[in-house]
């Protein structure tokens, strides 16, 4: 990314160095005009790189697994229940939680752009924003799940949630077998980001190498 000014050697994409220069030029222009403050941009980046991410969502799920009253609240009024754990705000103003069961599996997509519940999952992974995922999740969810290594038996109903509005969806995965008596902190280790989008299930306990 550090080499600039080399010649164009292909027609269909801009060389990355041009892109880097274009972004630098835009940032310095907007700073010069007083439209943005680069320190604020640094804080925005740091917030989503280091502070807000899927550990938040894992805490919500682990609480719901261990506390049936919280789980009922979460399914009834997800925005309020999630806010009670301190996760609020941008791109999570209106939350819905959908529950996986032995007969229902939920999967979240945004076919029109990249809507995603930032306060609980952070910024979306590249694949979630990619054209193939957005195209196929609604039409061929079983094929998509297979690509993530997730096999469901034929009797399971797959419900796909297309995030076309400002409602944001979080999947409550099934609590894995063999976790009776586990602490909430230990349970969070089983909750992956992908399980909360719905492309995978929560990890089975044997996969985290604990000695319980």
């Amino acid at each position: 990314m550090s080499e600039h000014h080399h010649s164009h050697d292909h027609d269909h994409t801009e060389p990355p160095s041009d892109l880097v220069l274009r972004v630098q030029a835009l940032e310095s222009l907007l700073i010069e005009k007083g439209l943005v403050d680069s320190a604020a941009i640094d804080v925005l980046i740091d917030t989503y790189e280091t502070k807000v991410g899927p550990r938040n969502g894992a805490n919500v799920v682990a609480r719901a697994w261990g506390d049936s009253e919280f789980k009922q609240w979460l399914l009834r009024d997800a925005t309020a229940a999630i806010a009670s754990l301190g996760y609020t705000g941008r791109q999570g103003e209106h939350m819905k939680v959908v529950e996986n069961t032995p007969t229902v599996h939920n999967l979240v997509v945004c076919t029109l752009c990249s809507c995603y519940p930032w306060p609980v999952l952070g910024l979306p992974p590249v694949w979630y924003k990619s054209a193939p995922y957005r195209a196929r999740a609604v039409a061929d969810p079983r094929g998509v799940l297979e690509e993530f290594g997730t096999e469901l038996t034929d009797h399971v109903e797959i419900r796909v949630w297309d995030s076309t509005s400002e409602m944001r969806y979080l999947v409550l995965p099934e609590r894995p077998e063999g976790t009776v008596g586990w602490s909430e902190a230990d349970l969070t280790e089983l909750v992956t980001r992908n399980a909360m989008i719905g492309v995978e299930k929560a990890k089975p306990p044997l996969n985290i190498g604990r000695s319980k």
């Binding site: 269909h12 994409t13 990355p16 892109l19 880097v20 972004v23 630098q24 030029a25 835009l26 222009l29 907007l30 010069e32 005009k33 007083g34 439209l35 943005v36 403050d37 320190a39 604020a40 941009i41 640094d42 804080v43 925005l44 980046i45 917030t47 991410g53 609020t88 705000g89 941008r90 103003e93 209106h94 076919t111 029109l112 752009c113 910024l123 992974p125 590249v126 990619s130 054209a131 193939p132 957005r134 195209a135 196929r136 609604v138 039409a139 969810p141 079983r142 998509v144 690509e147 399971v156 109903e157 797959i158 796909v160 949630w161 297309d162 995030s163 076309t164 509005s165 400002e166 409602m167």
Partner: protein, 222 residues
Amino acid sequence: MNGAHDLGGMHGLGPINPEPEAEEPVFHADWEKRVFGLTLAAAFPGKWNIDMSRYARERQHPIDYLRHTYYENWLAGLEKLLVEAELVNPEELKTGKAAGPADEPIQQRALKAEEVAETIAKGSPVAMTISTLPRFKSGDSVRAVNRHPTGHTREPRYVRGRVGVIHEYHGAHVFPDRNAEGSKEGRHLYSVRFSAKALWGESAPGRNAVYVDLWEDYLEAA
């Protein structure tokens, strides 16, 4: 608009190829970080809203939209918004040199580092109170209107003309089609369940369904 962004059901795009979750960084290059931060920060002078941002990205040529990476689309959208809002003129964008500072009241609205945490935690709720009663209730059969506006809309092509059932009423939310034109108006919003067969034909697995959030203007009784 019927743009390249409206991807539901499209074929031929290849495998998803997800990066392993444990190995994927939040950003893949420094320029992506700056585009992300610039896009969020540049909205604070208040010259556009989220639907105008989406519409700016959607209006790229479909070939550009599909070949660009995600943050390249954000960058293209941001440049378009800045010029259309007259915060930056095309010459400034080309040269990277400011012809002059932004107006003082606009500069005062620029996001400051110490305001970021509170701003993020607060968010921008879109629920509204409106005077009309919702036309539909859970269990009602509805058809997604077959409409093809050239402006911004959040009614995906794959549901248009299809019959579904109201799953849940979400309350009144800001209506994106008008919000993208700069007019903040509330409309009743519903979660609508469409069976996979209704959307994709008889060969689709009967049990599966797609739930789509649709505003009342997108729906008619069926």
